[in-house]
């Protein structure tokens, strides 16, 4: 705003203050016949001086914000109106009805000033209406106010202002119409409009961002205090027989609270970013409740105990002392409780900054370091700082250096209007990550410091998460490579078995065929005997080759599955073997692992245990396949079970490795009455994929 205009405004404000002072002086020196006032009665005017004062400051700082003009207007309307009513009273003595007109004009000014207060509700805090439709509320409000003022001029003989004569403009013919406007119907419409205006801030609150909400909260806070002051003052004022100084003092709190409303409007418009209204509200709630409790405690002890003890002399001195002691003792714990309660009411799940920091530190130390922990961290951060999106970024993440390792809310995308705040997470001089948060308003300096502190606290957790992730990755790689090794080994065995079958075996068969052809020919006995011997040798070589092929990878296992393959295995065992094997088909690697483990365990049982029978079982269910090989032999040595790598247990170690490679495990239990080798692994490929598995070669 330009200097001259500023000077002009200043002069205007000075004049306004002068008008207020003058009208108060007039009010205190009213002519006889009018109600006389005390100086303290005029304290109600204080807020109406505060309003234009704040208005001037807003106009100076934010010339574009109409709130300033509205505030200034309230001051002018009330001040000038006040002065005019007093002047009217004075003039009525000398000029009669002319004075009434001046009084009515002043009264109209005050009415318009109150209408402006309603308009203030409509346009606060930005100086604009909540929406285009609200123009109609504004117009109606102004129209009805003007009509009411006009009606007060036209009304006849209804002035309850002491010696003031009736309005000379009284319109007797239109009396009913005037009464309609000036009477209850008009009042009802006016009240409805005021209600609309009062609803405007609530409607605005729902649809606005964090910044506007904070501004509204400021005024809601001061208005709440004002309302409380009014309620308390008026309730106490009802008590009969109060001394005059007390009555005068009762007027002070509402007036001061009204002025505070003006001040809060100023803060809301100009400085709201500097102060945390939530903290202010929280403290106010806590101390108000505390004050109420102290008063209640005093009353309870003094009145209650006084009634019990009776009004013996001496007790009057003791009781207040006792009460004070009680209050002093209870004060600290009650205050702490109340503060915590107030925090919870105001911040909700949002923690106070100190709480957030300490909780965060505890978590960082105790949390199991996985990526869920990062998400919980982001969650805590979002709650604590009132952000609508938080991401935790890890440097050198597998998905790229700026990949968000965790976010809260999950999969959230920050809206365009929000502000980004961030803090690097540093561990031993290396930037290992970043905390990013999006919020409607920028962080205050305190909050940014808090975020930096939190980032420092988070470094331990983030480093642990990184280490854990790396370890898990490495573990996964190891597991996969072990699985690949086993699968490759099985494939290699199958390949060799096939080569054996297609190569050496076929050649031997061809030789057998040619030997067979010689059968029908005339041979000398020696040659015939040689041929017969050769045939036997070829047959036994073929038998050997079949055995080798089966040992490498039984074709029956690949072609028909575990049950037939294990049946064939059992048939060759030197002991009776009873089988209870699921007929299902499983993943090839799984079948291979189970087959070789059962085969190994069966061999152990037949060779070492002195058993007379073996039970073999393979069952599937609950997403896992398990097998057991149980003999009734003398058991294997304890040291073999405990350390499968040693002596005869080399096979056990192989079996354990084999099951581990398919993600399962092996259990060996041995006693004097026999040994049980049991293993399990997850069933990853169900029987339904059997055909597809068969197609594969």
């Amino acid at each position: 705003l330009s200097r001259p205009r500023l000077a002009f405004l200043g002069a205007g404000f000075a004049a306004l203050v002068a008008v207020f002072v003058w009208s108060i002086w007039l009010a205190l020196h009213r002519p006889p016949g009018f109600e006389s006032l005390q100086a303290t009665d005029m304290i109600w005017a204080l807020p109406f001086i505060a309003f234009p004062a704040v208005g001037i400051i807003i106009l100076a700082r934010r010339p574009g914000n109409r709130v300033g003009w509205v505030l200034f207007g309230i001051g002018i309307a009330i001040g000038v109106g006040l002065a005019a009513t007093e002047v009217g009273r004075l003039l009525s003595v000398s000029h009669g009805a002319g004075g009434t007109l001046v009084f009515l004009a002043g009264d109209g000014g005050i009415k318009m000033g109150l209408a402006l207060v309603a308009i203030l509700l409509l346009v606060f805090p930005g100086g604009r209406l909540p929406g285009p439709r609200w123009r109609w509320v504004l117009r109606l409000l102004l129209g009805v106010a003007a009509l009411t003022v006009a009606a007060s001029f036209l009304a006849s003989g209804r002035l309850d202002q002491g010696n003031l004569p009736a309005s000379p403009l009284a319109w007797t013919v239109g009396g009913p119409i005037v009464n309609l406007i000036d009477g209850r119907p008009g009042l009802a419409v006016y009240s409805l409009l005021l209600l609309c205006c009062a609803a405007a801030p609530f409607i605005r609150y729902r649809g606005s961002n964090e910044q506007v909400r904070r501004q509204l909260k400021w005024v809601a806070w001061s208005s709440g205090i004002f309302a409380c002051a009014e309620v308390v003052t008026n309730s106490i004022g009802l008590a009969p027989g109060l001394p005059d100084p007390v009555r005068a003092a009762l007027l002070v709190p509402p007036a001061v609270a009204g002025a505070a409303v003006a001040a809060s409007i100023g803060i809301a418009v100009l400085r709201h970013r500097l102060y945390d209204i939530d903290a202010v509200i929280s403290r106010t709630l806590a101390y108000a409740a505390l004050a109420a409790l102290i008063v209640a405690a005093y009353l309870a002890v003094v009145v209650g105990a006084g009634a019990l003890v009776g009004s013996r002399s001496g007790s009057n001195v003791l009781l207040p002392i006792l009460t004070t002691a009680l209050v002093a003792i209870a004060f600290q714990p009650v205050r702490r409780r109340l503060e915590r309660l107030a925090d919870r009411i105001v911040y909700g799940t949002r923690a106070t900054p100190y709480e957030l920091l300490s909780r965060f530190a505890q978590r960082a130390a105790a949390e199991y370091p996985d990526e869920r922990a990062l998400e919980r961290l982001a969650h805590a951060l979002a709650d604590g700082l009132g952000a609508h999106a938080v991401t935790v970024v890890l440097a050198g993440h597998a998905e790229g250096p700026h990949h968000a390792a965790a976010a809260w809310p999950p999969d959230s995308t920050p809206s365009a209007s929000s502000v980004l705040a961030s803090a690097p997470v540093v561990d031993a001089g290396e930037v290992i990550g970043e905390l990013k948060l999006w919020r409607a308003t920028p962080l205050s300096q305190t909050e940014q410091r808090l975020l930096d502190d939190l980032a420092a606290q988070a470094s331990l957790l983030i480093r642990n998460v990184r280490v854990t992730a790396e370890l898990r990755l490495r573990l996964d790689e190891l597991r996969a490579s072990r699985q690949r090794l086993v699968a490759a080994q099985d494939d290699e065995r199958r390949r060799i078995e096939r080569n054996l079958h297609d190569g050496a075996q076929q050649q031997l068969i061809a030789i057998a065929g040619r030997l067979g052809l010689a059968e029908g020919r005339p041979l000398d006995p020696q040659t015939a005997r040689l041929f017969a011997e050769l045939k036997v040798e070829v047959a036994s070589a073929l038998d050997d080759l079949r055995g080798i092929g089966r040992g490498l990878y039984p074709p029956l296992l690949a072609s028909q599955g575990l049950r037939p393959a294990l049946a064939a295995l059992a048939r060759r065992a030197p002991l009776p073997v009873s089988l209870d094997v699921s007929a299902e088909r499983f993943d090839r690697t799984l079948e291979g692992a189970v087959y070789f483990c059962v085969s190994e365990a069966l061999q152990n049982a037949c060779r070492h245990s002195g058993a007379t029978s073996v039970d073999v079982g393979v069952v599937s269910g609950g997403d896992r396949v398990s097998f057991s090989v149980r003999d009734n032999g003398s058991g294997i040595g304890k040291q073999d079970v405990a350390a499968p790598g040693a002596s005869s247990g080399g096979g056990l170690q192989n079996m354990a490795d084999r099951m581990a490679a398919v993600g399962g495990g092996l259990n060996v239990a041995s006693s004097d009455s026999g040994t049980e080798v049991a293993g399990w692994c997850p069933e990853r490929i169900s029987a339904s994929i059997k055909s597809a598995d068969d197609e594969r070669t």
Partner: protein
């Protein structure tokens, strides 16, 4: 259609050496005529469609899968060409394969180990048996089964006499009572008596039809231990 003098044969075998070996054995029998040779599963089916043989002699394991294509071909032919006999030549001595071959009925089916090329007579006899509607299971497979079953005192087979075991083994190979009698130099009546004794000792319901008897005995031998 069916000539009583000449049996038309299609041969399926992917290994050159084995194919030549089998072909020579077939050529040595004037009552057989080799009408086509295939080297894989699809070629086999096409050839049977085209040449209408009486008997298919096939390897068990062939391209494309190198698994049990011979047996699968037999199952398909059971539907499409029920009159064609199938002799599966195999290197697997496990009865599971033989039982699979007999899954849809044992008539006109033979399961022989490839070792039999050294005994051309066995192979040729099997081809003729199948062409006549009979069934043959390689004695090697059956003997292994019987031996495996009879090892343990707990097995019902251990209650059979040596002669009864011989009879059982021949029944499992597909022989008729007459053939068994001839082979063991017994009268048919004695063989029948043995047969009754065997079925009652093993608690099997007696099966008069020879083809079905093969399967029943084979299943008993293969799964006797398991079926509890």
């Amino acid at each position: 259609m069916l000539s009583l003098t000449v049996v038309r044969v299609v041969l399926a075998e992917d290994s050159y050496l084995a194919r030549e070996g089998v072909a020579r054995v077939l050529e040595s029998d004037p009552s057989l005529e080799l009408v086509g040779v295939a080297s894989d599963f699809d070629g086999l089916l096409t050839l049977v469609d085209e040449r209408r043989p009486h008997v298919l002699v096939t390897d068990i394991r062939m391209p494309p899968g190198f698994d049990d294509e011979g047996i699968r071909a037999a199952a398909i032919l059971h539907e499409t060409h029920p009159s064609v006999g199938v002799v599966v030549l195999s290197q697997h001595d496990e009865p599971e394969y033989a039982l699979r071959l007999l899954e849809r009925g044992s008539a006109r089916r033979a399961y022989l180990l490839k070792d039999r090329l050294a005994e051309p007579a066995t192979l040729l006899a099997a081809i003729h048996e199948v062409a006549r509607g009979g069934s043959v299971i390689d004695p090697g497979v059956v003997e292994r089964l019987v031996a495996a079953q009879a090892r343990f005192v707990t097995s019902p087979l251990s209650s059979l006499s040596a002669r009864e075991r011989e009879v059982l083994s021949l029944m499992a190979q597909g022989s008729t009572n007459e053939a068994i009698a001839q082979r063991l130099f017994l009268s048919t009546g004695v063989v029948e008596k043995h047969s009754n004794a065997i079925f009652s000792k093993l608690q099997l319901s007696e099966e008069k039809d020879v083809n079905r008897r093969v399967k029943a005995v084979l299943i008993y031998l293969a799964e006797g231990e398991m079926a509890r």
